[in-house]
């Protein structure tokens, strides 16, 4: 545990959401703020007690016990209030009076799965679903969510508050959706998991442990869906395959100095074979049925990338998958990557013609692609594009990668 570095942020990330989910299921969604407050107080109590006395032997267990006691006190106060003072109000709300909060592994898992669906309920906007998920399912701080959405804390606090109001108005229960609604309700859940993974995989943060944690969290949430027979659908398997393939390169894409290593230059012996074979397994599982989601296509592309050497078959396969992906849903990143595949299959001249038709303004990846394509064809133009790319890059690691490329081209 201690080797993980900071322990409170680590535990906050892994345990806060478990405590909130379990308490919320116990109290009812109506009282989600109470659940969140108890979880926050638990961490504050930990900071105080662990600061003065040192860490307990089982920190997660300590948190569960403290949260359990706080919940018990809260319920006791509530029931005293209802019986003594509010009796005449004939409060009809159904609230569990059972004081014992069940923090067993089984209940933690069930609560979190049900919480995933509650948070991704269609009554709230997509943006709010993602925000709430990051907060409640992933234990993100308000600061982190604000920076993920490139806005400030107040905006996020208001957005989360409104989203919780909406969920209460819609009388969302913490339970599994009916079988007929599962397919539709799964979409936003998967999207959120996908974004969570991307946050960890592509973020500019230098904190590698934390980033890896985020990726593993996304994999864990997705695995939870697969372990549940009602949610074990082909597209869920496809998403998990995609994340396994990407995560297999996690250690290879960052060198000892913490800077990024481009795909072509990675030492493939550092690729995690276990994750690659897991990805293969889930991709096969994803093929059972006749559904072809965007996760299937992206997993297919990622599968090809687990083979480092260039073959005609590989790039034909990738180009074909990108064509399908773009027809289904346009994205600038997919358009850029498709152009790269075009270069590999039909040559740089063909790819330049395609690249110049793209509608991608002011993006350093776009100019980096042009720089790559013009290299050996018109080196002067290539250099200009690389310099434009450098001027547009925002993060230090992006700039460093471009400079490295520039040096190698000269």
């Amino acid at each position: 545990m201690l080797d993980h570095g900071p322990i409170i942020p680590h535990l906050f990330r892994t345990e806060y959401r478990k405590i909130v989910s379990v308490l919320c299921r116990h109290f009812g969604f109506r009282e989600i703020e109470v659940a969140e407050d108890i979880a926050s107080e638990t961490f504050q109590a930990a900071m105080q007690a662990w600061g003065l006395e040192g860490l307990p032997p089982n920190p997660a267990g300590w948190l569960y016990n403290t949260a359990k006691n706080k919940a018990k006190n809260h319920l006791h106060r509530e029931s005293v209030f209802r019986h003594k003072i509010a009796q005449e109000l004939q409060n009809t709300t159904q609230q569990s009076d059972s004081a014992e909060v069940d923090l067993s592994l089984q209940n933690i898992n069930d609560s979190q799965l049900q919480m995933m669906f509650a948070v991704c309920h269609p009554s709230v906007s997509h943006e709010s679903q993602i925000g709430l998920s990051l907060r409640i399912l992933c234990g993100f701080g308000i600061d982190e969510i604000a920076s993920a959405f490139m806005t400030n804390k107040d905006v996020i606090n208001k957005r989360l508050f409104r989203a919780k109001e909406k969920l209460r108005e819609a009388k969302v229960a913490i339970e599994m959706p009916p079988a007929s609604a599962i397919e539709a309700r799964l979409e936003p859940v998967l999207k959120t998991i996908y974004l969570l993974f991307n946050e960890g995989y592509y973020s500019a943060s230098q904190n590698n442990t934390l980033r890896k944690d985020l990726c593993l969290e996304a994999i864990r949430l997705c695995t939870m869906l697969i372990e549940h027979s009602e949610t074990n659908k082909p597209k869920v398997n496809a998403l998990l395959a995609l994340m396994c393939f990407h995560a297999s390169r996690f250690d290879a894409r960052i060198n000892d100095n913490g800077s990024a290593v481009l795909y072509d230059e990675q030492d493939s012996s550092l690729w995690n074979r276990d994750l690659i074979s897991k990805g293969g397994y889930f991709l096969r599982m994803a093929g059972q049925g006749n559904e072809l989601s965007k996760y299937h296509l992206e997993a297919g592309i990622a599968a090809w990338h687990t083979q480092q050497s260039d073959t005609a078959e590989k790039w034909e396969g990738i180009l074909h998958l990108y064509n399908q992906l773009l027809q289904r849903e346009y994205s600038p990143v997919a358009a850029l990557n498709r152009t790269y595949a075009v270069a590999k299959v039909r040559g740089k001249e063909a790819a330049i013609a395609e690249a110049e038709k793209l509608q991608i303004p002011e993006n350093h990846f776009y100019f980096a692609l042009l720089g790559t394509l013009y290299t050996d064809i018109d080196d002067q133009k290539a250099m200009l594009h690389w310099q434009t790319s450098l001027s547009l890059a925002k993060t230090d690691s992006d700039k460093e990668a471009i400079r490295k490329k520039l040096r190698s081209e000269i």
Binding site: P6, E41, W50, G51, L52
Partner: protein
């Protein structure tokens, strides 16, 4: 050597004052360094953090929830230290990390024992 209690008072109620997990980690580390430094001089007798749950009992069977009734600050924890004098105890208490936060306070009181005169 005399014994002194160092009582820490914190604002535990204001939501905006709640620290982020990273800040909490920082505070915990500062506590560790502070307490560790006192223990290294063999002057640390013990300490505890306190939960926000509690009751206040008053004259005439008046009972209220929580340690905080009229004021935002409440006792969040204490340590007991050994010191030759109040001045030395105060010097050690000055290292308490909560003093970096506005509105927080630390109180140093000598413990009286029946075994001493």
């Amino acid at each position: 050597m005399e014994e002194y209690i160092v009582i820490m008072r914190l604002d535990l109620l204001t939501k905006a004052a709640q620290p982020s997990p990273e800040q909490m980690e920082g505070y915990m580390k500062q506590y560790h360094d502070w307490v560790g430094g006192i223990a290294a001089q063999n002057k640390f007798s013990g300490g505890k953090g306190l939960s926000v749950e509690g009751k206040v009992l008053k004259f005439n069977d008046v009972m209220t929830d929580g340690p905080f009734v009229e004021i935002k600050e409440s006792v969040a924890g204490f340590i007991i230290i050994k010191a030759a004098s109040l001045d030395e105890a105060v010097e050690m208490a000055q290292g308490c990390p909560i003093l970096k936060g506005e509105g927080n306070s630390v109180e140093v009181r000598k413990i009286i024992s029946v075994h001493e005169s």
